[in-house]
């Protein structure tokens, strides 16, 4: 048996954060972590968190500390997905339908956005898809529009970031990075 490489011991504050992050079944924000130790403050908590991230950053562990939906969460490493799933300790969630992804993409980039605009871009009725996304908690009503009937306007939720493994909306690709870059309202000659 190989003797494991001795780790530098974590500070008591980092160990407290580690315990909280281990116990929680969802991402914990810095503010939430700061409530663990009233004396730490945001700066102290951030320092403890950095210490913890450094300790878990290498490939020495089966789990990693991931920044997710504005918080932090321990997740198993991707290379163990197959054996964990085969042993039925965990199952990959079902994939979203292409229609649902399309609607999510439009809402993520245009939020707050109403149903009519989503329908217009997709060219089909999106009512049922929007209802399903609301039910799954991936989008929510953020405000009402100014127009006729004050339509409901939708935006994405932290749950949306979580299922995509994003820290925040800034992790989404920028529109001008895409192969099809739109320069509205340019006459748009080359369709490539």
């Amino acid at each position: 048996m190989n003797q494991p490489r001795p780790l530098s011991p974590l500070s008591p504050r980092a160990r407290l954060l580690e315990a909280a992050l281990f116990a929680a079944a969802r991402p914990l924000t810095l503010e939430e972590l700061a409530t663990l130790d009233g004396e730490a403050g945001e700066a102290g908590t951030q320092a403890a968190l950095d210490e913890l991230r450094a300790a878990w950053s290498g490939a020495d562990h089966g789990v990693e500390l991931v920044e997710l939906a504005g918080g932090w969460q321990f997740l198993t490493r991707a290379e163990y997905a197959e054996p964990l799933e085969r042993a039925q300790f965990a199952l990959r969630p079902r994939r979203l339908s292409p229609a649902a992804m399309e609607t999510l993409a439009i809402i993520a980039y245009r939020q707050p956005v109403g149903r009519i605009e989503v329908d217009e871009i997709r060219g089909v009725d999106s009512g049922a898809v929007i209802d399903k996304l609301l039910e799954r908690g991936l989008i929510e009503v953020v405000t009402r529009g100014e127009g006729l009937g004050r339509p409901l306007l939708y935006g994405t939720t932290p749950q949306f970031l979580e299922i995509l493994g994003l820290a925040d909306l800034g992790d989404l690709p920028r529109l001008d990075e895409l192969a099809v870059a739109l320069r509205p309202p340019a006459p748009a000659q080359e369709p490539e």
């Binding site: 281990f22 116990a23 929680a24 079944a25 969802r26 990693e64 991931v66 969460q73 321990f74 997740l75 198993t76 490493r77 991707a78 997905a81 964990l84 039925q88 965990a90 199952l91 990959r92 969630p93 079902r94 994939r95 979203l96 292409p98 992804m101 399309e102 999510l104 993409a105 439009i106 993520a108 980039y109 871009i121 997709r122 060219g123 979580e162 299922i163 995509l164 493994g165 994003l166 989404l172 690709p173 529109l175 895409l178 192969a179 099809v180 870059a181 739109l182 509205p184 309202p185 006459p187 748009a188 369709p191």
Partner: protein
């Protein structure tokens, strides 16, 4: 439908004459191209999101509750007898059609007329029950009633009813004789 309308409108705008150097004019196709590009962009984003979701799905958090597996419907395990029994149950549920047998019953109006004439010859006035006679069936009652109405029309008898729902009273008309088949001739 909407797309067809839009394409038609673009075609119409392209066919319309336009002045040279008209800055206001905008190629109607550009709107369509913009929309197509916009949608293509969304498709590209969908690909990116799907990759991100697939990468995230390979990492499990604590307290992950796997969704309940969707069981396929159990295969049918029935034999021919079950099938026949089921078919019988369905057939038993079909309501029996209500059939009525329609029997032609010839009314004997002439016979009734003759009977009334016989009664009129004996008496000036008699009641409904006497007219229909003892043990009268539906056919006799109807025949008698029609005969009475016919006779009353001809003026041979006068029908009256002392009070509502009381039996009719049949009275010989003073002008008529006991030979009713020829009343017009008598009147003339």
């Amino acid at each position: 439908m909407e797309m067809a309308a839009r394409l038609l409108r673009i075609k119409a705008q392209m066919l319309l004459p336009r002045r040279l150097g008209d800055d206001e004019w905008e190629d109607p196709r550009s709107e369509l191209v913009r929309r197509l590009l916009e949608y293509q962009q969304i498709r590209e984003l969908v690909g990116w999101l799907q990759d991100a979701a697939a990468r995230r799905a390979e990492r499990f958090g604590r307290g992950y509750e796997p969704p309940a597996p969707e069981l396929p419907p159990a295969p049918l395990a029935i034999d021919l007898n079950d099938l026949l029994a089921a078919a019988e149950r369905v057939i038993a549920l079909i309501p029996e059609p209500m059939l009525h047998r329609v029997v032609p019953r010839p009314l004997d109006v002439e016979g009734a007329t003759a009977r009334i004439h016989g009664l009129l010859a004996e008496r000036e006035e008699f009641g409904w029950y006497e007219a229909i006679g003892p043990q009268a069936g539906v056919v006799e009652v109807l025949s008698t009633f029609i005969a009475l109405l016919e006779l009353a029309k001809r003026g041979t008898v006068k029908l009256s009813q002392p009070e509502p729902f009381a039996p009719m009273v049949i009275r010989r008309e003073s002008t008529s004789s006991s030979e009713p088949p020829e009343p017009p001739r008598q009147a003339a």
